[in-house]
Point group: C2
DNA sequence: CAAGTTTCTGGGACCGCTCCCAGGCGCACA
DNA sequence: TGTGCGCCTGGGAGCGGTCCCAGAAACTTG
């Protein structure tokens, strides 16, 4: 059986390749009657254009890459990335793009990204996340002329980004803990070279200071967004007797929670706890976690939209989208007197 | 600047396109001296062959698809899939393949899979998971002649699969709970049309029966692998007073744990709990979860290996790889008397 | 009704690579 | 030294589309 090609479809419809191509790509300038004839044949045969041929001839692959740097082997199991992937995937499906996922370890697969995905012209553009604000990779990529969108913060103003309102979110957390009357408010931060962590930190610090209750340096510990690191960091922190902790992600909050449990401290009675993200684990934790909600999945779809814009017009100024954050109060931070109220 | 193409590389090396191609593809039959000349030019220029052109000419895209059906919006956040993706991704990187991720909702994106990924010849083959044993999609795909590997169980013997030893794992769980002296052993199963769930159930049932302590029908409740469903199912189950529960996944065990907590029951004192998977959440749960360990990430890499075999020789008999399972005992099922031992 | 437009349609030239085939060259053998 | 054979190498023909351009057809307009 001869392969089904555009040529064959054209033949069956009694038109030329060019005309068939126009119809299939929805270009106008084809008489309705002829258009219908072609569409009928397409319908009948189930013709679908060959991806590679299209790419080769048309210079566009309709494949978008999603690159995630794996700091540790477990990073991808972070529900944050799961949600992000979900959003990106949905957007790709909706906008007729194919998603290519690229998980790389900085050390090992580093050059695979440029060579495998980019210089081969496999992808039209890249959504990239889990990078640091001044990641050299980003410069490398922009210089290579790859359409790029970063989910998170970057220092290079020519790169479009989509990010949560980290500033507002952290401020909400601070105000909330203050409103509970907590006096010794501590924090388990992410790595400070991460833009998100740095921003949350500054905002948190500022909000506490504004309330006349500045953040005490000894109540600040740094972790790396994993629960294990947060657990260890929290153990150090607990020695300084905080009565409230703001963890920079839910996943880290879970680690903190574990440390609190091991120390025999009750939440929120002894220590109030607030996380960041509002992903499923927050709700499932015992006690359920108060957290700063951000729209991770939406960030994914938004990133795809930005990337498509970028691909179409690479010279347009880089847009930056900021997604809202909000406070979700659960049991891990209810006021002390209301503590006996159950879920 | 003229684009860097194979032609140009050949020119720079003073050889023909064909020879350059041979060198780049590692074929032999090229004089070492000439080979070196070409490789030097490649090194110097950083040439990488154009993916689409290769695909078009060579009939192989070097792209593997990973398709995951999304039963609920949250499925992908299941750490099981996270681990699987991780494994598949790593294997693709190692074996010079690109990974295309396709998350689809049965209802909405169903036909996107065949048309977007397959008929366009975008992918050389497909790893597919989260399907049911007799999923019509699988027949459809095999009939379309797409090289296919399923992670899980399928009824069609012509499809290669990689799967955990569900039978052995479930038996381990049963024996373990029996060894604790539990009398009223219940189970929260996955959906029975899932092959894994069915197998685990049969094995669990059989192992209990073999010990002269058959599974009581009223102590069996079915859920759908999500924690919420497991939580609800467990609430029903608890009314029948079980003293041990085997949940068919860690994620479900977490839901059960929540239900137990809400019912004021202690684990493992009142009810011993065993999960399945041994993914990170199991260790992080309070108390840490006894579980049946399976090598999810390895399943991913194995699937890629099988798929590559399949692509190379589609007519070879379908291999089935079974990965070992093992019992990991943690606090959720320690013997009653040892309960006071802390972590 | 001729000439000038505008609208459609068809053909050719690629896109960059792989693969097949033919020819050149060197060597062994007779 | 002539012939045969094997090893390398180069050229040509696609792979299946897109895009540009020219020419045909249909429609204006004076």
């Amino acid at each position: 059986m001869a392969r089904l090609t555009l040529e064959r479809v054209a033949e069956l419809a009694g038109v030329s390749r060019s005309t068939a191509s126009r119809v299939i790509n929805g270009q106008d300038g084809v008489r309705p009657e002829i258009r219908k004839r072609v569409l009928d044949v397409v319908e009948l045969t189930g013709f679908v254009p060959h991806a590679a041929a299209r790419t080769l001839a048309g210079q566009r692959s309709r494949i978008l890459g999603l690159a995630i740097r794996q700091t540790t082997a477990q990073v991808f199991s972070d529900p944050y990335f799961a949600a992000l992937v979900q959003g990106v995937s949905r957007a790709c499906n909706d906008r007729d793009q194919t998603l290519s996922l690229f998980l790389f370890e900085s050390t090992h697969d580093h050059d695979l990204l440029p060579s495998r995905l980019l210089r081969t012209k496999l992808v039209d553009g890249l959504v990239i996340t889990a990078t640091y604000a001044d990641d050299p990779l980003l410069w490398q990529l922009t210089e290579a002329g790859v359409p790029l969108v970063v989910v998170g913060e970057v220092s290079n103003p020519d790169i479009p980004t989509v990010d949560a309102d980290n500033h507002g979110g952290a401020a909400l957390a601070a105000e909330h803990l203050l409103s509970l009357g907590r006096q010794r408010i501590g924090t388990v931060t992410g790595p400070m070279r991460s833009g998100a962590a740095a921003t949350r930190f500054r905002a948190f610090e500022r909000a506490l200071a504004a309330a006349g209750q500045p953040l005490q340096p000894d109540l600040v510990v740094e972790a790396d967004f994993t629960d294990d690191a947060a657990h260890d960091a929290a153990k150090r922190l607990l020695a300084r007797g905080p009565d409230a902790i703001f963890a920079f992600s839910d996943r880290m909050a879970l680690g903190v929670l574990r440390a609190l449990g091991e120390a025999g401290l009750s939440v929120p009675d002894d220590v109030a706890l607030v996380g960041f993200d509002d992903l499923p684990p927050a709700r499932l934790a015992r006690p359920p976690l108060t957290t700063i909600r951000q729209e991770v999945e939406q960030a994914g779809t938004e990133a795809v939209a930005l990337l498509l814009e970028r691909i179409q017009d690479p010279s347009a100024p880089a847009r930056r989208v900021e997604l809202p954050t909000s406070l979700v109060v659960r049991e891990s931070s209810v006021p002390r007197r209301a503590q006996e109220v159950s879920a």
